[in-house]
Amino acid sequence: MAQTINTEVTRVDARRKVTGTASYAADSIPAGMLHGALACTAVAMGRIAGIDTARAEAEPGVVAVFTHETLPDYKTVKGFYAGGPGSASFWPMEGTEIRYAGQPFAYVVAETAAAARRGADLIAVRYEEDAAQIHMDPGESFIIGAGEDSEGMTLTKGDIEAGLGAAAQTVEATYRTPFQHHNPMEMFAATAEWRGEQLTVWMPSQSVRTLRGGIAKAYGLPETSVRVLSPFVGGAFGSKAGVTPYAMLTIAAARAVGAPVRLIVTRPQMYTVATFRPETEQKFRLGADADGKLTAFEHVEIAQTSRFDDVVNPGTHMTRSMYACPNIHTEQRLARSDTNSGGFMRAPNEMQTFFGLESAMDELAWKLGMDPVELRRVNDTNRHPVKDVPFSSRSLMESYDAVSRSFGWADRGREVGSMTDGDWLVGYGCATATYPTNMSPSSARVRMQGSGHAYVELAAHDVGTGSYTIFAQIAAAQLGLPVEAVDVVMGEADLPLAPIAGGSTTAASSGSAVHIACTNIARGVAEKVAAQKDGPLAGLDPAQITLENGVLKGPGGESQSLAEALASTPMGEIEAEGQYRHPALTDKALRMTYHGGYGVAGPVTPEMAMFAFGAQMAEVHVHRYTHEIRVPRLHGAFAAGTWLNRKTAHSQLMGGMVWGLGSALHEITEVDTPRARFLNANIAEYLIPVNADVRELRVEMLEERDDYVNPLGVKGIGELGIVGTAAAVGNAVYHATGKRLTAIPMRISDIVSA
């Protein structure tokens, strides 16, 4: 049997995706389906003073127009940051209140999608408008739970002022990051069909269990009465994790009109009806002795949040885990403004904070006159700087050394502005990448047939990353089958528990569950064949039979392939479940996951700190006259335990770096301050990198063994590649121009005015 782990395996769904036969949630069209459309507010704050739906109702094809007064049975759930499954705590259309621009105020159902949209546009609405503020005021920031239990949101170790006092060099700097939107290719969509008290919902989701649990509870239905289906997801990045108003409105509307209803949210509406990455400010004070050893590390992160949720993505927990330092002070702060609630977007704790941290480290290196790579080396540590437990594995400097070699770091000019290429100023920059290794509990069911076929079933999700493929590989490797002989079924809430596809946990957590289920299959088969009269393993103690690459082995060298052994049993078929739970997972976190929440072990357990690491290097060209910033080379080296599939892992890391490049140079949700609206709400004007921006992009994947993290030794990689890219680019801009850009995206206008 060919080895399937740590090889390049083409996605099992590749052909279906490129031929259009992969069915996404909105491709399911129940008989008699009608179409929904949202009407959203122009103003950001105030009240609905009146809605006139007469013209919409008269529009041909329109079946019904619902407002806060006319939608019976519209149910809501608690918001995520209040411990519920909802995308936000404030629910539109419960009353007249308007809390953010682009808030749904009416829901139109029509025979065609065009009629529904037209109907939505024909609704006349009067507002009582109040003043709204879209940008946070960092001066008004607060620490969550200050005065109560604020454990973790602030941290002090040692004496930061003493550490700064003792430093040979200090850096004090503030960095800013903007509002950003996920912009998955696949639009937000929800289709609801009621049959009596049985509800089916098709919806692209990162958590079908969360969705089912939330809906069932809201409607007081048993979970068995609610089916949630999300077979494929066309990108999510955090935007499809929660129970959203557009889903609950669709479910209520379908109930009200007595027919299935499908809503596809428009691209501009996608900017306001769900979450986004909040804007932030990152304040650092670093001190180092003459050798570069950190004597003081202070990081205060201020992140924007809505008026009704404390959206906290604790980035300071990541930065304070990074470098050795005796004196550490961190604060996790929020500042409110008038938007819908933000949420998590790919590397939600890390992208912004590592732009700050790694830019500040670069400033420090220049002040010290040190090679920035050496500054990281001097401060590298194999114990967690705060919790003082060892890292389960940490290949930070191996990553720097590998990327330095491939990039040619040693060839850089040592002075600012010392390299040019024609009219372009050239600079090199580097930065650290890291991502916490979090493990959720997960289950999986595996059924194997003696004919040599296996089925893997679990309520996990393939958000485009390749989960279908890696689960097939894990099962194939253990059961001794070719990858094509394993069918993976996912994206249904009725299947065995799997966690939210978030925090880069799926491969490690659900992959471990698949692994355990396969081990259990082997045990079941071993028991049966050991009890049989003949056969190579007959009469052995089943506890002594082991499974290796699909072959059962006895203590005396007896062996039989699992498939053969299975075929010899009376049923010729076996089913087993696997339950994975990291030993450090608390009961509370376990319960949380079973109730649709995000319960994890890690990244720091009582005995270990679990993180993946990497290093990125960018060559940046800044045009002497026009100040255009281009990145002809971007190299990254990463170590993240076992590589399950070198092809999909490479894609994740490369895609992450492209995303990081976008956050460095392009990505920003433009804001109209007077009216508190997001402006460039479409993908023509919300810029992300195109091919011409991504030139030489190299990913090096280092070998790393970690027996602590989980049975497979896997760390999550879906977000790792984004972290640090923006700082690497910014640091290279500084090297090229001597201009330190402290906000992303870094654009022509910033250099012209810097």
Partner: protein, 328 residues
Amino acid sequence: MKPFEYLRAADRGTARRDAAMPAAAYIAGGTNLLDLMKLEVMQPERLVDINRLDMKSVETTGEGGLRIGALVTNSDLAAHETVIADYPLLSRALLAGASGQLRNKATTGGNLLQRTRCYYFYDTAMACNKRDPGSGCAAIGGATRLHAILGASAQCIATHPSDMAVAMLALDAEVEIEEESGETRRIPLREFHTLPGDTPHIETVLPQGALITAVHLPAPAGGTQIYRKVRDRASYAFALVSIAARVTLEDGKIAQVALAFGGVAHKPWRDPEVEKALIGKAPSRALFDTAADILLADARGQGDNDFKIPLVRRTLRAVLTEATGGAG
């Protein structure tokens, strides 16, 4: 989207007749019009599809120039042999615009008439004099990074987004039109687009119902030709600033020059005073800066777009340096 009537015209006469009502619009590639209709920024009641009309060829004219049919796609025009050989800056400008897919659909006529990318124009929740005359201009005092620094008014500060038109302006192009009456005439491109003034919803001098049939380029003027488009994203993005330049040197002096600017005004911008100041002079950094001073004498930023003023100056320096062989 507002429901509309759709007519496909078989010939120009029918097209003009069908379009002879204020709420009608011609549709060519549809790459701009359809987007705006979906957002209800434009709400024509009747679409007259002109794609079957015989306006798809590029011909050499008696004057030694080119006549480019209004339906020639941006892709075809960019790849046309004569254009590449004799009007290279036009080919480069076209290729710097939009994406391959869009250029395959976008037409010469439609490109000239494409509307501004002002975010506020696109968002029907915002006041916009261009979309809804008299409603105000939400962009002023708002997010103005993309807006005009020249020729703006208190009613509108939008820019014209076309690359092709900037190149054609530097090439002294003329727009051939057929009026509702059937009468054909040519309008110099320099006079075709208008400044916003008090009527930002009017963007050209094209009469109501008139059809653009072609664009004429005069006989090739030669010289060094450059199209320089400055933007944050390396491709598939509108210009923050662009410059189309045609420069001929004789005896070390600038003998002929044409300079057109994009991304700076409500229309592709050309300033004869700038060109006059350059002609007959030996290229130097000081000379280029003098040209920029003349160009930008009345430039005014709105805040977010203040950077465009130094950016135009710097880009002009880059373009003229390159065009004159490195004197700057």
